[in-house]
């Protein structure tokens, strides 16, 4: 008999979340039955190729939905509260940016060029928290310290800043309301190697010093390993593997995860990286069975049926090879 440690309740519990878009060609199933749990002070990386639905997952969580949503369903429990029944105004006033914020993809290029950065970073506090200008600006000063920006940057305009500094400003904007969860969508993909490493250092330090959780959305496997506690790999709208970082990076289970890890170029290894044959299926016309089957070197008869999610030693894998009755 073993003693199971009292589990902390998860910060975020997502069950069967779906987000489909209506397009002229039909319904695009960008997020299609995604489930996962995120613990307090945990960093989960969502990996995937472009068009796999990872950015849509972020939008579905923060409810930043475009107009052409065809279908939005599932359960999102956050800090013990079910978010799905909340009305838009409630969600805006109590969740978005108050408890859950986001660094959007390429947001550093979306800063308002004619407004000083301190005013832009103070905006969430002034609008969502209704703080006075003085109080908000004082908090902005603290947040700048947190992300490693000198106080003299406060008075500058975005065009006076380098890419790395602007990315820190955008990060400060997400942190200024001190939310317990920040979603980061490709926070380093437009930056140089040294700047990327510096931003990852900032994220690591903030995660160590504060009780904060991150969901980091990226296609860059090497950079994601800088912060990941857990990795969720998305393919064609679904999470195909969700594993602790050590397992995922060193012994991935899903055949797609294995191919992906072999395709990562490594500076310090003599072997040439491999390529993944084929292209992902269109989200408009998904195959009936396993969505990776067409590209999979380990395909067998059962792959014509859609695989459920199997639990294997702390990981979840959506692949018939991990069915309890075994594979051929």
């Amino acid at each position: 008999m073993s003693i199971v440690p009292a589990a902390t309740p998860p910060l975020l519990q997502v069950s069967d979340l779906s987000l489909h878009y209506q397009t002229r060609q039909g319904e695009a199933r960008a997020v299609d039955g995604v489930s996962f749990a995120l613990q307090p002070n945990e960093a989960m990386v969502v990996l995937g190729e472009s068009g796999c639905g990872k950015s849509s997952l972020a939008r579905a969580l923060l409810r930043l939905l475009p107009r052409n949503v065809a279908h939005y369903s599932g359960a999102v429990h956050f800090e013990g509260r079910d978010l799905m029944p909340l009305g838009e105004e409630d969600f805006r006033a109590t969740v978005r940016w108050q408890r859950m914020s986001m660094v959007m993809q390429a947001a550093m290029n979306a800063l308002n060029p004619v407004v000083r950065v301190r005013e832009q970073v103070a905006e969430p506090l002034r609008i969502h928290s209704k703080w006075s200008r003085e109080k908000a600006l004082a908090r902005v000063g603290e947040t700048f310290g947190l992300v490693g920006l000198a106080p003299d940057v406060l008075d500058r305009y975005p065009f006076e800043l380098s890419g790395g500094m602007r990315q820190r400003v955008v990060l400060a904007m997400a942190l200024v309301t001190a939310p317990p969860l920040v979603i980061l969508d490709e926070p380093t993909s437009a930056l140089d190697v040294l700047t990327q490493a510096a931003i990852m250092n900032v994220l690591k330090r903030i995660k160590r010093e504060q009780d904060i959780s991150f969901i980091l959305i990226t296609h860059d496997v090497a950079t994601s390993s800088e912060i990941a506690d857990r990795v969720a790999l998305m393919y064609a709208g679904q999470i195909v593997e969700c594993s602790p970082a050590r397992d995922f990076f060193h012994a991935p289970r899903h055949p797609y995860a294995q191919l992906l890890m072999a395709s990562v170029p490594r500076l310090r290894q003599p072997e040439a990286p491999g390529a993944i044959p084929g292209t992902p299926p269109s989200l408009l016309a998904l195959p009936a069975g396993c969505r990776f089957a067409d590209r999979c070197p380990q395909r067998f008869a059962r792959c014509d049926q859609p695989p459920p999610t199997f639990h294997v030693d702390g990981s979840t894998v959506r692949c018939w090879r991990f069915a309890p009755e075994g594979a051929p």
């Binding site: 960093a43 190729e49 472009s50 380098s162 890419g163 790395g164 500094m165 140089d192 190697v193 040294l194 700047t195 990327q196 490493a197 510096a198 990852m200 250092n201 690591k204 330090r205 296609h219 860059d220 496997v221 090497a222 950079t223 390993s225 800088e226 912060i227 990941a228 506690d229 970082a245 050590r246 990076f249 060193h250 191919l259 992906l260 890890m261 395709s263 990562v264 170029p265 490594r266 500076l267 310090r268 290894q269 003599p270 040439a272 990286p273 491999g274 390529a275 993944i276 292209t279």
Partner: protein
Amino acid sequence: MTQSPPRTPLLEAEDLHTWFELRRFGFVRIGHVRAVDGVDFALYPGESAAFVGESGCGKSTLARTLLGLHPPTRGQVRIEGHPLPPRMGRKARLEHCARIGFVQQDPYGALPPFMSIRQILSEPLRIHGTTSRNERFARIDKALTEVNLRPAADFLPKFPHMLSGGQQQRVVIARALLLAPALLIADEPVSMLDASVRVEVLRLLRSVQRERQLSLAFITHDLSTVRHFADRIFVMYAGKIVESAPVDALLDTPHHPYTRALIDAIADVDADNALSERAIPAGEPPSLVHPPTGCRFHPRCPEFMAGICDVQVPTMQPVAHQHAAACHLYDKPKEP
């Protein structure tokens, strides 16, 4: 005793400077952006060289200068020993264009959306005087097959938006190869593509380069892919080349402090990465309008020697076989 004759470099840059004038109100000259500021290198036939550096280090301007799109402010570009004239007439430009193929960074921007693949690939042949339709189509067919877009006939009537990013970049490569150039310049050829497609496109470039014995100048900011796709690396910082070496030597025993910092900043996938922070030189790349005196890396350099690095401009010094670095750490001690 016979010695093999010294090979002529296919492409040479000598003391190359490309500066852009800065003006206020359109006519008051207030300085220069020194995007390329004294670059020397030689690229031999059949050699693949990677130019690595951060954004703003002048690597794309260097590519454009080599292509003849920017006239050099000072210095010279030589192709097969012939200097590139500062102003090219139509004939000289056509000859120059046929010798150099260019692979752009962004395939979505490099392919006109209103032209079919057949039209896109016909254009260079038509301009360069292939008048026979059949001959044009035969060459296009061959080029598409060479970049693994098979069967070529399926792709010809398509428009760029109907292709995936990887396929679009293959079309760009096919276009660069059509006129049978001796040199290919690729400016960040895979940075806009997905990780899994990148390796395929790089492999294709490498195999085409080897088969055709092309010289390839490959501009990139990503050191982690160069080992398998280049023979030689030039590291650029603030408009200058700071280190040059064969790939393995540069990655395994980097000499310049900037190269070391660049290599240290790159993570190889490992769950342990999350446990510690990376050591990164403080600061940002310098302004190219007012670059630092002496060595341009000195304000960020962990090996900074006051009175030397901030005063004297370092020159390239040999540090090992075929390996040179521009750093005062490797200056020869002066004879007493």
